[in-house]
Every structure is written in C-alpha cells, then in structure tokens.
Amino acid sequence: MSQMPFYVSPEQLMKDRADFARKGIARGRSVIVLTCAAGIAFIAENHSRTLHKVSEIYDRIGFAAVGKYNEFENLRVAGVRYADLRGYSYDRSDVTARGLANAYAQTLGTVFTQESKPYEVEIVVAEVGADPEGDQIYRLTYDGSVADERGCVAMGGAAEAIEEGLSAAWSPSTSLAAAIQLAVGLLGKDRSGAGADRDLGADQLEVALLDRSRPRRTFRRISGPALTRLLGGETASEDGSPRDDEAGAHPGDSPRQAASNPQTQRPHGED
C-alpha cells in the first residue's frame, strides 16, 4: 500500500469528489422533464423495459434520475417510504415535493461530504399542480444542491446542449405530443458532429406523465402503441391524452379519490 498523503486541502478534496461524480453522471443517457398542458412529462432514453429511470413516488409526485442505477434506486425507494409514511401518519395531501426534495438534499449533501464516495446521481422531484403555473420541479445534484426549475430540465450526458434546445422551443402550453416530440428530437440529436441524428423509437424510450386531470394517483407510464401514436406527430389528438387502456394498468378512474380516510373514499350524493 502506498502511504496516505499528509495533507489535502479541502478545496482539492471537494473538487476531486465533484469531478468524480460529474464524470459518472455524464456517461449516462439523458432524461428530460418538462411541464406541458396535460401535466409533467418525463422522457428518458432507456433501452431497458424494467430498470426504470422514471417512477412514481406519490399521488402527484414523480421521480427521475440519471447516473448509477443502484444509487438512485436506493434514493427512489427511500422517497417512496418517506412519502407513504408521511401520508399514512398525516394525510395524503400533506406529502409534498418540497419536503421530499429537502430530505433528498440533506441526504445527498451528507453523503457527499462524509462518505468515502459521493453518489454519482442527479435527480428530479416533480409535483404536478392544477395548472402549469402550479407545477414544481426540483433538481438535485450529487452534492445536495437544490434548484427550483421553471418548466423544463435536462439531466445526464448532454444536459446543457439539450437545455439550450428546450429553452428555445418550449412553452408551458405545449401539448403532450409536441412536448414528447421536442424532447425525443433533442435526445436523438448527434452532438459529436460526426454521425447523423438518431431516430429514437418507442422501444428505446421511457415516457411517463403526471396527469393533471386524474384524481388521486396521477402517474402513468406511456408505452407501446400509445407512445408510437404520440411520436407519430398526431398532434390533433386533443393534447394527446392517450386512453388509459393503452397506457397500461389503470383503466378508468381510480375509485379511490382525494382523501386517504377510507370513510371519504367516494363522493356522496346530496342525500
């Protein structure tokens, strides 16, 4: 074993750690989170069907991450536990993205300074509101810093270039189909200048939506034929709301509505 150096300046130590984490994150494929008329859309290039980069945390809260899978999966599970315990002890409406983002920030910050290796992850916690102005998107980096983003975020390898493209073309009233097409175009763009732009198909993408119009659990994945249809430029389809039966496991409106108290699970008649 070589000897440990006697002194490393704190600046150097932090810089080394930050460089290490940044390198790890930059290797991954990018994820885009953006507000649109239908809700908050998550679009990731992900060739796996089962190892998700985007997931549900709670009724109105979604999670997206890039970097090392085992590390962000760990954070995701912690977030689900945090949200479920909070919702169970208080009420479903008391679970907020802001609270979760704070808990994540503290955790990432402590790991960054105290553990032998920082987490090589970057995550987004998003909460859908009643309208695009009410949406909250928090971006958290490996060192625990939090940014409250307006409208759209990109993380991962080509994040900066993608964000430039997003800020040029995005507006809060974008339809779901247009938002997905914009994001997919930016994800597939060739940055090296050597090859042609890639055309990403439905099986190379992971897309999910926090749907403004749904009661209670708003998160749904969009895949298969529904996604192909949205990618195909069918902007006319009323803001793209693909029917639930195409989107997956949630046919019809959930019978469990706003509150967590079983006594108030359904709206009563005027009797």
């Binding site: 479920d84 315990l85 019978p255």
Partner: protein
C-alpha cells in the same frame, strides 16, 4: 416522526435495502404507528362501535361485495351511515365486520401496503399475495381480539391471472380461506347466508347479483337488530362495490335506490320475498 432524526436527512432505515412491504418497514422503523404494536391493559375491555354485515358473491366476469351502513355500540346505533366496504386497490375491495375503529385503521394500512408494493416493485401484487398480507395483519391484531376488539374482514378481488372474481374469508386468528360463489360475515351473516344460498345463481349478470346482495342484506336486517336495512327516509343505501376486469367501481346511489325500491314493492304483503 419522519425525517427529524439526522438533521433532515433521510434516516438510515429508509435507505436500507429491504423488503417491499410497508408494514415490515414500519415494524423496523416506527412500530408505534402500527395497530399491532398496541396492547390493552390485561383484563380490560371497552365498548366501541361495531360494524355488522358484509355479503359477497361472484357474477359472470367479476365479484360483488356489499355492506350495510350501521355501526352499533351495545344497544345503541353508533353510526347509521358508516362505510364498511373499501377499495383496497385497483382490483380488490375489502369489507369489514367487527370493531370499526380498528378495522378502518387496518384497511388504511392495507391500502398503503398494496400501493407501496406496487410502487417499489413496479408491478401489482398477485391476488393471493394480497389475501395473505391481509391475513398477517389480522393475526397481528390477535391480542386485541382476545379482549373483545376483533376485526373480521371479507376480501374480494378480480384475479388478473385466472380472469375471474375470487372471495377470501378470515377468522380472528388470521386464518385465510378461499370461498366459492358467495359468503357473508358479521352479526347478520347467518340470515344473509341463508338468503344467498337460495337466491344465488352462477354466472348471473351484475344487475342480478346486485339485487341478490340487497335481498341478503335486507333479510339480515330483518332478523338481526345490529344490521341496518336500507333507510328510505334518509336515503341511506348499502355500499356496493363491483370488481371486474376494468377494476373496482361503486354502484351509484341511484342504482342501489332503484333496486331497493323494487325490492320493497315486491315484498309488500310478502315479507319472505318468495313469489
């Protein structure tokens, strides 16, 4: 309670690799909020509202579960519009008889348990899995049950594998038994079961099953003082959940009211309801 411990950072238990069960997580991290963590002083017993009759039966392509609305405390009516049938998740529902306060808490925990598993695993739990989770929760309540605060649920769900509705009943010790065709629990269950036995037809339409369920609850209320019949004056109708391949839905008040009014018309001067 949640993130207070380590200066706002998520406690280590949250980040630990572990099971996808919410109850097991609570057992390690916050046992105080679990119903099974509580004990009454030895020998004590208290009087608390009790829920009464739940009936369930299968129909073509699904299963129906219904409950009356009354909760009683001794000879008093504690609540005349209590809901006792709840959607547990997208494809299952649970009806409860026994101590109402404990039962409703148990249902809340059960709902979170199923949703938690679904989010962590990214897939729905199998119907047997759900039935077994509920059984272990009932078992956790055994101590309270021995002091008179028992909870006896009835669980009905649509099995996405087998593509049919299935029914599970429980005893106070957490025994879980699959029932075929129909079942009933609670104080009026004796009479409801008799009615179900005579009226039940396999593979009937949902509307027919709805009528049979309301008839069974009516017969239970007829002979059991703790079961509430439909309250025509106050417009309080039984809770009816129908579960099929599309998920859980509750029969609307109008639908149930129409069935009840037809039933009353048929039984006028003919209390047994037999033509």
């Amino acid at each position: 309670m949640t993130a207070a411990a380590d200066g706002g950072r998520l406690p280590a238990a949250y980040l630990a690799a572990g099971s996808s069960s919410f109850t097991e997580f609570l057992l390690d991290h916050a046992p105080g909020v679990l119903p099974s963590g509580r004990r009454l002083p030895a020998g004590a017993s208290i009087e608390a509202p009790h829920g009464t009759t739940i009936v369930t039966l299968t129909y073509a392509g699904g299963v129906l579960i219904a409950g009356d609305r009354r909760a009683t405390m001794g000879n008093l009516i504690a609540n005349r519009e209590m809901e006792k049938v709840f959607a547990a998740d997208e494809f299952s529902a649970v009806g409860i008889a026994g101590t109402a306060g404990l039962a409703i808490e148990l249902v809340r925990l059960f709902q979170v348990e199923l949703e938690h598993y679904e989010k962590i695993e990214g897939t729905l739990m199998s119907l047997e899995g759900k039935a077994n989770r509920l059984a272990s929760m009932i078992r956790g309540n055994l101590g309270m049950a021995m002091q008179g605060l028992s909870v006896v649920p009835l669980f009905a769900g649509f099995d996405l594998e087998a593509q049919r509705g299935r029914i599970f009943s429980y005893d106070v010790t957490g025994g879980c038994y699959e029932e075929h065709d129909h079942h009933s629990v609670g104080s009026g269950s004796l009479f409801a079961r008799g009615a179900l036995k005579k009226l039940y037809r396999r593979e009937s339409a949902p509307e027919v099953a709805l009528r049979v369920a309301v008839e069974a609850l009516w017969d239970a209320a007829d002979d059991d003082s703790a079961t509430g019949g439909p309250d025509v004056g106050r417009r309080i109708w039984p809770t009816v959940a129908l579960i099929d391949a599309d998920g859980v839905r509750f029969a609307t008040d109008e639908q149930v009211a129409a069935v009840v009014e037809a039933l009353i018309a048929d039984r006028r001067g003919n209390p047994g309801g037999v033509p």
